[in-house]
């Protein structure tokens, strides 16, 4: 199954600091095991732009789509056998301690 990992900040991180090279090792493991398809860090909320069309009119605003103390710092697209494997892999991301990670399954196309 394909999952998206939302790498989010958290106001109450664990005290343990990120070890040097940890994220590189995680990315390397994801590639080696064929789990991680793609991913990246994202610029902070100040750089976000939100748009919507209402009554046919395009409205563009500054900032993220939802007001929240936490923000999405990055994302990864992974492919795993099941949710437990996704949890296992995601739990080794350094942001599991420094922030929090949301796992969302892809909505597969209906055939």
């Amino acid at each position: 199954m394909e999952y998206m990992l939302f790498i989010a900040s958290d106001s109450e991180p664990d005290a343990i600091e990120e070890q040097p090279g940890e994220i590189e090792a995680w990315i390397e493991e994801g590639a080696r095991r064929g789990i991680r398809k793609f991913g990246n860090r994202l610029r902070p909320n100040e750089d976000a732009t939100t748009l919507r069309i209402r009554k046919g009119e395009l409205l563009v605003t500054d900032g993220p789509f939802s007001e929240s103390k936490e923000w999405i710092a990055g994302f990864d697209i992974i492919e795993c056998e099941n949710l437990d494997d996704a949890i296992d892999f995601a739990s080794r991301h350094p942001m599991a301690r420094a922030g929090r990670i949301e796992i969302r399954p892809f909505w597969p196309a209906e055939f």
Binding site: Y3, C80, E81, N82, L83, D84, A86, P105
Partner: protein, 395 residues
């Protein structure tokens, strides 16, 4: 007819989860598995009175449930039939069996932490214990439609989020165990306190036994099993003739099941650790060991509560420790601690205060507390108990 009904009750208790579990493994479809199992039991109820009770009831039901699942898949609109279902049909027609593990798979999957806690308990009651949606809804005090919806959502999440149907691999077992034990204890308490009664608690006990067998080195699993066995041994003494809850002090200890107490104590002796379930079982054992309430070793119970509180601080445990202190050192000591507890709206606080006030001879104050508790309870057996205690105070 009543012979058939009796046979069905016992086979339901023994085999429901195994049949549902096997069908889930074969089809991956939780709803289909439950529906087909339900069909099989209904078919037994319709056929056994005339055809006679088969020699191997479990095998009869398993075969019937598989056929019902095949019927249900065939009756679906053909254009909706997907490639997946061909695979499902093939596995349903195969004869491979792995029955005992299916029950553990179900237990671990229903207790998966990615499901909301209330859904974990409800799903366990439905798929492992085989309760009807109406019974589960009654236990949770919610409308049946709400409970049905909660179950639908839980099954959908299992499928759509990819929650695996399995006992976790060994490196994940330990971290998943706490969640499983918590769900089993909630199931037990639902049965122990609720109207469905003993069958329920017995199911929780047999599930805990299966977990102990799977993970014999985990002392907390043993602790929970011991705790449930010890509590359940008192089931016939808990409710008085007027349908009122009886306190440990009031219970007729001759109706405690001494063989089950022995079994519970044996399980407890085999537990090596001192985790929260083991400590709670030790406390239950302090009560189970003595023939009269007056002989209760309250100093030992206070020490156990101190140990438990250090592991898992909670105002509810503080309340229980205060009760034990009140019994050891006199009501005033317990009452002083209770005054400082942050438990507003928790009905057992005024019950405990009322009890210690009665022991201190302050009957009017005790009556006020029991009335306060009466306003907070939703349970008939508790209401009957409080009314009896009020009457005993002469108010």
């Amino acid at each position: 007819m009543s012979e058939v009904a009796d046979a069905l009750v016992s086979v339901h208790h023994r085999d429901w989860s195994r049949i549902v579990g096997a069908l889930i493994r074969l089809t991956g479809d939780w709803t289909l598995a439950e529906d087909a199992t339900q069909d099989a039991f209904e078919s037994a109820l319709a056929n056994w009175p005339t055809s006679g009770i088969p020699d191997n009831t479990g095998a009869w039901l398993m075969t019937t449930a598989r056929n019902k699942a095949i019927d249900r898949i065939r009756s679906r609109e053909s254009e909706q039939r997907r490639a997946k279902e061909v695979v499902v049909m093939e596995s349903l027609q195969s004869s491979e069996h792995d029955i005992e593990d299916d029950r553990l798979r179900l237990i671990f999957t229903c207790a998966h932490p990615a499901l909301p806690l209330a859904a974990r308990v409800a799903l366990t009651l439905r798929t492992v214990a085989g309760l009807s949606v109406a019974e589960i809804a009654a236990a949770f005090l919610v409308p049946e439609a709400t409970m049905a919806q909660r179950l639908v959502r839980a099954r959908r999440k299992i499928e759509e989020a990819g929650i695996p149907y399995r006992v976790p691999p060994s490196e994940q077992l330990a971290e998943r165990l706490d969640g499983v034990l918590a769900v089993l204890y909630l199931v037990f308490n639902e049965g122990y306190g609720g109207a469905a009664g003993g069958e329920f608690a017995a199911t929780a006990i047999s599930m805990a036994q299966a977990v102990v067998d799977l993970m014999p080195a985990e002392s907390e699993a043993r602790g929970l099993l011991a705790l449930m066995k010890l509590q359940n041994s008192r089931r016939d003494a808990r409710i008085g003739p007027a349908g009122d809850l009886r306190t440990l002090e009031e219970q007729d200890r001759s109706s405690w099941h001494s063989d089950e107490i022995e079994a519970g104590l044996a399980v407890l002796r085999s537990a090596r650790g001192r985790g929260p379930y083991v400590l709670q079982a030790e406390i239950a054992a302090c009560h189970a060991r003595v023939a009269a309430a007056d002989d209760t070793d309250w100093p030992a119970i206070v020490v156990l509560y101190d140990e438990l509180l250090a592991l898992t601080p909670s105002p509810v445990i503080e309340l229980n420790r205060a009760i034990a202190l009140g019994m050891r050192d006199g009501p005033a000591t317990g009452l002083a601690i209770m005054d400082g507890l942050k438990l507003s709206g928790y009905r057992w606080l005024p019950v405990a205060q009322g009890d210690l006030l009665r022991r201190a001879g302050r009957n009017a104050d005790a009556a006020d507390r029991f009335r306060e508790a009466l306003a907070l309870t939703t349970s008939d057996v508790e209401r009957a108990e409080l009314e009896r205690r009020l009457a005993a105070l002469g108010s």
